[in-house]
Symmetry: C2
Subunit: 256 residues, 2 copies
């Protein structure tokens, strides 16, 4: 394995599964940090703010600082703050997303008539009224930014609808398509690279899903390593037309 100076880690399936850390994850992160490597941890999570996320990570005993975390909520807020600082923004999403947007100084409004931009994420309190408001904005031609477009995500009680439920609903009825911030789209990865501040050829993306993590790495021109501690098995890699640069059993096998 080539030597890298910067690492972008996907989290779920790489550092932990559910709330159980992957054996050796904490030690590998420590070792990378001691060697002076720069690290960013990305996630498509659209319901937790960066602060919420840091707490979850701390509880698992992983040596990661809040400033190294880049959940899709935070990445979306940054994107909005950079491009739509003066616009009224309507959010269909969870509290964690609202918190990030407010922290970034985005001007939120609950009145669709006053809104100029739509932001969507997974929403445990999704309602017909919220969908109607979002539809009104989209039919008026407002820009639409989505934290991610993930179809499903695994939970202890089985697969649950992801942000894709909101994206699919609005896309189907309005014919519009969102700008997607999360993996495999580029925006979250571009932000991660900016946080690292290193040339792309010196960075490695480490993830457990080919269609999300490996594609995301490819899209921004960094090398990719796939770990087998998440949803992908070795036979899936062999069957896939997209090949990561490295396939390793777990994060603990990263040569550092």
């Amino acid at each position: 394995m080539k030597e890298y100076r910067g690492y972008i880690f996907d989290m779920d399936g790489v550092l932990y599964r559910g709330s159980k850390p992957v054996p050796g994850a904490a030690e590998t992160i420590e070792r990378l940090k001691k060697k002076g490597r720069k690290l960013v941890f990305v996630s498509n999570n659209s319901t937790l703010s960066r602060e919420d996320f840091a707490e979850k990570i701390r509880e698992m005993g992983l040596p990661i600082e809040e400033g190294e975390l880049l959940p899709a909520t935070h990445a979306t807020a940054r994107y909005l703050a950079e491009r739509y600082a003066e616009s009224g923004v309507y959010v269909l999403g969870a509290l964690g997303l609202v918190k990030e947007l407010l922290l970034a100084g985005v001007r939120l409004t609950q009145q669709p008539a006053k809104a100029e931009v739509l932001v969507t994420g997974s929403d445990p309190d999704i309602s017909y009224r919220k969908l109607s408001n979002a539809t009104e904005l989209l039919l008026r031609g407002c820009p639409w930014i989505s934290t991610n477009a993930d179809k499903l995500y695994p939970s202890e009680s089985g697969m649950l609808p992801g942000t894709g439920a909101v994206v699919g609903a609005l896309q189907y009825i309005t014919g519009r398509e969102p700008v997607v911030i999360g993996k495999p789209s580029a925006p979250i990865m571009e932000q991660a690279l900016e946080m690292l501040g290193l040339p792309r050829e010196e960075c490695l993306m480490v993830g457990d899903i080919i269609e999300s993590d490996v594609l995301a790495g490819r899209r921004v021109g960094v090398d990719t390593a796939l770990v087998l501690t998440g949803v992908t098995r070795r036979e899936d890699v062999e069957a896939s037309p997209v090949k990561p640069d490295y396939v390793i059993e777990s994060i603990a096998e990263l040569e550092v």
Copy 2:
């Protein structure tokens, strides 16, 4: 215009707009009935039961009996009762749909683990929990029946999300597709023809939307008449690749 013995009427945009009857609609229906013609009135409405619908129609002074009405709620209940009489059915839909299913003797359950069939309609009380339950059924491979797949519908406060919001959400995240009962699909039209009990060549479908009503008529092999009292204008007809057999200003111009 050829003479027909049976008529299938779409309702909104043909007999009324909002809650205002189209001038001459009541008289035309009277005249057809006096001549012994058979009539069925279809609608993609997925929130009102047939009884709810009859009340709305009576309030507008239209001479239509409850037994001549075929809203998508009722058509869906009939479809389920015929094919899934012994199955546990989970409904993501409005009270009017639930009422029709219960009247038809369909066995409803709120426990997704006990459900074997999913029925969807527009739901003013849509929730994340209901979407999760529906997702569970679809990932298990259960049959999926939808009242309709309409994208939007016009209201006094603008365009609102139709049943398509539910269909689009579930389709996007699960990759499944529903059996659609309402127009332009065949099931509601087949039921209408069954209610008329006449050969197809003696029946005329009258509607105001090419992609819904005219296509629905085509699909089951009946002649079609487009009225211009709804959403379609004469220039839309000229631009459309699908041509109805007749284009008339309003239902009052039907030669009877």
